[in-house]
């Protein structure tokens, strides 16, 4: 049997024009999360607890598209989703449509451990969160200025855009960065550009 191993991600599809300092910020967050997971593994925490611990850290930091810093709906609100799965007995939990739960991955864990189901969504998931006493916050907590700017761009272009981390510079520079993909490619009979990556 090999030893322990860990991997984290913060999303695929990166703005090629992302400035160096934003890239450094992302690498520092990834390194911090890796080290958090490594010290948990060295303390013999089981894998299921380590993935929850690390994703909570990623949800709390506004840099990536989850928890605080989540992408916005067409209405300018946040609707979050998460899932967790434990390999040995393939137990799993998932949630969707969350608007007030501070750490969605922990509610997914509670669905796995404390409910007879594997997936709860929208009002049912929010009610379960209240029953379980998880930390709840206003929807505004999740909304960042960066993402309000990104949504404005997306609406001007009438597109669902790549979730690029927009450059720290002014919005006018990131219209080139935001991945509006004009592509003839089709998927499911629709222009592929609407299937922008998260």
């Amino acid at each position: 049997m090999g030893g322990w191993a860990i991997a984290v991600h913060g999303g695929a599809g990166v703005d090629p024009n992302l400035p160096q300092e934003r890239q450094e910020q992302a690498k520092q967050l990834l390194t911090r999360c890796l080290n958090l997971g490594i010290s948990a593994l060295r303390s013999s925490l089981p894998a299921i607890d380590v993935v929850e611990l690390v994703v909570r850290e990623l949800e709390t930091d506004p840099l990536f598209n989850s928890g605080r810093g989540s992408a916005l709906t067409e209405k300018g609100t946040v609707e979050m989703e998460a899932s967790i799965m434990d390999g040995p007995r393939r137990r799993c939990g998932a949630v969707s449509g969350l608007t007030t739960v501070k750490n969605p991955v922990s509610l997914a864990r509670l669905v796995m451990d404390k409910s007879p189901h594997s997936y709860l969504a929208f009002s049912g998931a929010e009610e379960f969160a209240r029953q379980q006493g998880v930390e709840l916050v206003e929807n505004e907590y999740f909304i960042t200025e960066d993402n309000v700017g990104m949504l404005k761009l997306a609406k001007e272009a009438n597109k669902i855009v790549f979730d690029y981390r927009i450059p720290a510079l002014g919005l006018e520079t990131c219209s080139a960065g935001a991945g509006m993909v004009e592509s003839a490619l089709q998927m499911n009979g629709l222009p592929i550009s609407i299937y922008a990556p998260e």
Partner: protein
């Protein structure tokens, strides 16, 4: 989207994924991240977390397929990740991270970059964005 996959010293695998979804999405839209077998999967062989074009990941049941090609085609972890990224996405764009129960770590993506980091008990550690 963010994710983490882990195999602990006892060979137990686990995966977790969390996201706000797509910018400017319709209210009520559900992506791949909460769908077990699409954006997230773990079994006794491996654990996988995906990110990218949710609709393509769902159609390709991407995370489960990594475990399936390991199980049925006998591929090693990195080969399984490469195979699924190459063969299951049609024109879709996505990335994924994965670990195996024998302590391997792998990732793959066909997008412009992916924010990722990985480490193993023997001291290997890497944090990257681009190819």
């Amino acid at each position: 989207t963010v994710g983490c996959v882990v195999v602990d010293s006892q060979g137990r695998c686990a995966a977790a994924t969390s996201t706000g979804g797509l910018m400017n999405k319709m209210s009520g839209r559900i992506g791949d991240s909460p769908l077990i077998g699409a954006g997230t999967y773990a079994c006794d062989l491996c654990a996988v977390s995906c990110t990218g074009e949710g609709e393509a990941i769902i159609r390709g049941t991407l995370a489960r397929d990594v475990a399936a090609v390991m199980e049925y085609k006998g591929l090693q972890l990195q080969d399984a990740v490469d195979y699924v990224i190459k063969k299951r996405l049609d024109e879709g764009k996505a990335g994924m991270i994965a670990v195996s129960s024998n302590g391997e770590v792998a990732y793959g993506f066909n997008t412009t970059g992916m924010f990722r980091g990985c480490a193993t008990e023997d001291g290997f550690m890497e944090v990257g964005i681009w190819e």
